[in-house]
Amino acid sequence: MTGLLGLEEVKSALERFGTVEQVRFNRIKLATTPEKVHEALFRAQTLLACDHLIQISALDNGQNFELIYHLTGPHRTVISIAIALPRDRPEMPTTSDILPPAGIYERQIYDLLGIVFTGHPNLKRIILSEDWPENEFPLRKDWKPRPRIPSGGTREEGK
């Protein structure tokens, strides 16, 4: 542990990509745009010593999709890099080249929300069953579940 990063330090590294604000005593958030994420992540890794990807939070806020990359390092400050993606074209370049664990996380986000990570080496289904229909993304706010048809058993029979 090397001591929390100060807001000024993070601002000087990441301000060029968007607004930087302190959201918690140990979490600083950058709001930026999709095409700048790669470079922002790279700068966080090199200039701010971030060596651990905690999570790629993905959500549908009703209007558009949001992705938030949470990184941390020996300083134990969480750097959150947040972007928004348009609903009609949720595409984002992959970050698995500089953040290997993103390989799995991006596949899961693709499966559940339908965000396409361009350049991903293996963007296939990972969490929904193989007979799950295409283009059904359960975590989207406008998704309605379909009735499930069981294959047998006695549930419908003589109760």
């Binding site: 542990m1 651990h52 949470h70 134990r76 953040l99 290997p100 664990p101 289904r125 069953s129």
Partner: protein, 393 residues
């Protein structure tokens, strides 16, 4: 070149029946790896959006039955911070006691399973017998042996009487003695050393690069433990230390887990002896203000992250859960390539996969063709036979 597919199941490695875990190998060496986590996907994150803050906690507890308190913990502390609730100290101490008991039961369980995988069934039986002590304590405290239902937003549901505290404290020395014996057993047992040393080795740089967490990362010298680095509940007030190791292999992970068992026992004892008086919960409002929080907790398997966004209603707008096992799978992918089939069970078991947080692995070569199949039981047997007959090629 013969290609064999070895299916290995999503069930707990101690159970003998596989469902699916396909490895395509070139002779005895593994060529490639693929992952499929759909078998236990239940749709919990979506369901959580439709349940209020009281009903959602039992659901989140059952993401994983072995680290159930950790999930409820991460969620409750996150929501409490959003609601700006001041949770009473007694509740925080009680939460810590249950959390560390859970860590103990999980690590002892793991030790038994790891021993079983290499054929050291005596240790399997002994550890699970000792584990019953922790299960009894948990049942007396919370009413259930697993999925305790102890946490709620605002505190805990049940209190401890002075008689219970005395009773629990009296059982800890025996458990401590048993755990001390595990260290000797692991260090002195030839089979375990042979099967664990040098296997699944991850350097510190690799552990960080692949996003590993928990004992798997700490065994490679990564000094990261959320209980110290983003503390919650009673950890800042209790004297304890983070256990790390430099071996980086399965042996190192075993030593880290045993070390954590000893630390956990110390934390439980301290919390019981210094349990503050007072309330065990504070009434929580029905509705949470609009906010977002990244709530982290150190589950037995590693860093657990709950990203929660609330929207001014009595339900979450979104909860995004990243389980520690998912974070560790990338390292399994990497550390299995070019290893022997015989080492698969040990390498997989060494990250302590919570198989309801994730599920099965399909391992494929670039060509992706398949010809034969082996079950998990056959794989475990194969590993034991391989090492009995002379060891790695």
């Amino acid at each position: 070149m013969p290609e064999v597919i070895l299916p290995i199941g999503p069930q707990h490695p101690a159970l003998k029946e596989p469902v699916n875990f396909r490895v395509i190998v070139d002779g005895e060496t593994i060529v490639g790896l693929e992952l499929d986590v759909s078998y236990t996907h239940r749709g919990i994150e979506k369901a959580a959006e439709q349940r209020d803050f009281i009903r959602v906690v039992p659901l989140l507890e059952r993401v994983c039955g072995i680290c159930s308190h950790a999930h409820a913990q991460a969620f409750c502390t996150g929501i409490e911070e959003i609601m700006q609730l001041e949770v009473p100290p007694r509740a925080q101490y009680l939460r810590t006691i249950v959390a560390e008991l859970e860590r103990m039961h999980s690590h002892i369980l793991w030790l038994g399973v790891a021993a079983h995988v290499v054929g050291f069934n005596t240790l399997f039986m002994w550890t699970w017998r000792d584990r019953e002590t922790t299960q009894d304590i948990l049942e007396e405290m919370t009413g259930n042996r697993m999925n305790y239902g102890m946490n709620e937003v605002g505190g805990v549901r049940r209190d401890l009487s002075p008689g219970q505290i005395r009773s629990i404290l009296s059982r800890l020395p025996k458990l401590e003695e048993q755990i001390g014996k595990y260290v000797e057993m692991v260090k002195g047992e030839e089979t375990m050393l042979l099967r664990f040393r040098g296997i699944g080795k991850l350097s510190k740089a690799e552990a960080l690069r692949y996003g590993t967490v928990g004992p798997t990362a700490r065994a490679s010298g990564v000094d990261y433990d959320v209980r110290r680095d983003d503390p919650s509940i009673a950890y800042p007030e209790v004297p304890w230390k983070v256990v790390t190791d430099t071996n980086g292999d399965v042996y190192g992970r075993t030593l880290v887990r045993i070390g954590e068992l000893q630390e956990s026992l110390g934390i439980i004892r301290y919390c019981l002896e210094h349990l503050p008086e007072g309330q065990i919960y504070v009434p929580a409002p029905k509705v949470a203000p609009k906010a977002e929080i990244l709530s982290r907790y150190e589950a037995p398997r590693g860093e657990l992250a709950h990203f929660i966004r609330t929207n001014g209603t009595d339900k979450v707008d979104r909860i995004d859960i990243r389980t520690p096992t998912l974070a560790n799978w990338t390292s399994v992918t990497v550390s299995l390539v070019n290893q022997n089939i015989a080492d698969i069970p040990v390498i997989v078991a060494a990250i302590d996969p919570c198989l309801s947080c994730t599920s099965r692995i399909t391992i494929l070569s670039e060509r992706g063709r398949r010809r034969g199949e082996m079950s998990w039981a056959q794989l475990v047997d194969h590993g034991q036979r391989f090492y009995r007959e002379g060891g790695r090629s």
